[in-house]
């Protein structure tokens, strides 16, 4: 049922086709949003390979947040298969989502594959890009609506 609701949300969502970046706001504070994100990544069948901090020293420099992380995730077999066939995609792998605090809320974003598509013709790979994009939208949408 939950799945169905989510799918319905995605269908109504105009965030389709030519979206460049996938961005959502969660009204949850950072730690809660982060844990929903990690769970959501798992629900889409991926594993988290690493959570990287990129915020050291930020509040000292006058920014209003010191919570900025990059969450890397993927699937081992898929990572090997894609990187063997398309080594030039390696710099873009594993997949990632950036997550950072804005006041009491949290923003999350990931890039689409729009900037890579023009360089590839393999139907398998283009389909993989489609799959990744819809998985990422699904992951983010679950975080957006979580309460």
């Amino acid at each position: 049922m939950k799945r169905f609701l989510l799918l319905a949300l995605l269908l109504v969502s105009p965030l389709l086709a030519a979206q460049d970046l996938f961005m959502v706001r969660s009204q949850l504070p950072f730690p809660e949003a982060m844990s929903v994100l990690q769970q959501s990544i798992g629900e889409s069948g991926f594993h988290i390979s690493r959570v990287q901090r990129v915020d050291i020293g930020l509040t000292k420099s006058g920014y209003k947040t010191d919570k900025y992380r990059i969450v890397f995730f993927g699937d081992l077999d898929e990572l090997h298969a894609v990187s063997d066939r398309h080594p030039d995609l390696i710099p873009s792998l594993p997949l990632k989502i950036a997550i950072f605090a804005e006041n009491g809320e949290t923003l999350l974003l990931a890039s689409s594959f729009k900037h890579l598509r023009p360089f590839y013709t393999s139907p398998d790979l283009l389909q993989k890009f489609d799959q990744w994009e819809s998985a990422i939208r699904e992951i983010l949408e679950r975080v957006r609506v979580a309460e």
């Binding site: 460049d20 420099s61 990059i70 030039d88 873009s92």
Partner: protein, 339 residues
Amino acid sequence: MVFTLLPLSAVAVAGPGEGAMLYRQNCAVCHGVDGDGGVGIPLNLPDFLAVASDDYLRNTLRDGRPGRVMPAFANLSDAEVEAIIGYIRSWSGQDAPVYHDRSLHGDAQRGRRLYEKNCTACHGDRGQGGTGTGVTFSRPREAPVMAPALDNPGFQDSVSDAMLKATLLRGRKGTPMPSIAALGLQEKDADDLVAYLRTLKMESISADSKPLEPVILYESEYDLEQTLENLKQAVVGRNFRVIREQYLDQGLAAEGKEDKHRIILYFCNFAFLNDALAIDPRVGLFLPCRITLIETDHGVQVMSINPKNLSRLFNNSELDRYCEQMHDLYAEIMEDATL
């Protein structure tokens, strides 16, 4: 498959909740759930809603602000756009102002002098707008709201002369934007300023939209170990700190079973991070800086994403310029390490 279903859904059920839902999905990420601003500027200020016509909102949504982060929402149906506008209106509960679309005939020369004296500090000498984004994170704390670009075609094509004038007469309480009166100017000065604002033309942003190569790639003359060593030296030599070195599949493969021929080197430094975040809080997608080493039967390759290619997704011309420097930095480091 998903795409063909879309037109049926949203339009048919444009009830009152529809606008709120569409706003949350498309706008809240930057403008805040209640319109307080964030990566975007505020949309809920009484002084803004009192002067912004529905035409202005409609055109702004459709055209976006090229090169200034605000995306163009071409995919929304007309009914969806109206639902979003209705929702934004509900914050003030006031009717939308309606303007005539006649041009005002002020003195642009005089307007220019008034602009240079009163507006340049915030909106820039060419009306290019303030740097950074919106109200939080990428703003230094002492500058609460970024001044929008006045030379932007997305703005110029959306706003009428009469709305421009109304904006100047009123100012925007809750932001640094002063009213004409607060600047000691008269109503007639507003006409001259409007005439001048109409002459502003944005310097063309990366007009050529040909996609840029997605990777920067160098073949190394050394073996994997030596190339990695060279890379680290090159990184440190440019005042960056190596923050991590790992296998590509580390964290996914069982420990000890990783593919040792694909190595990622992550690096960063404070100044770089600060500069990048001051331009756009979304730059996390470029961070930390990363170069990947790949050992094949034919030798060792060193590669990175091309930041100029990724930057195209952000609709931020300042970021595009920054990414040109980032591209050169990557290329220099890789060249040093491989030759």
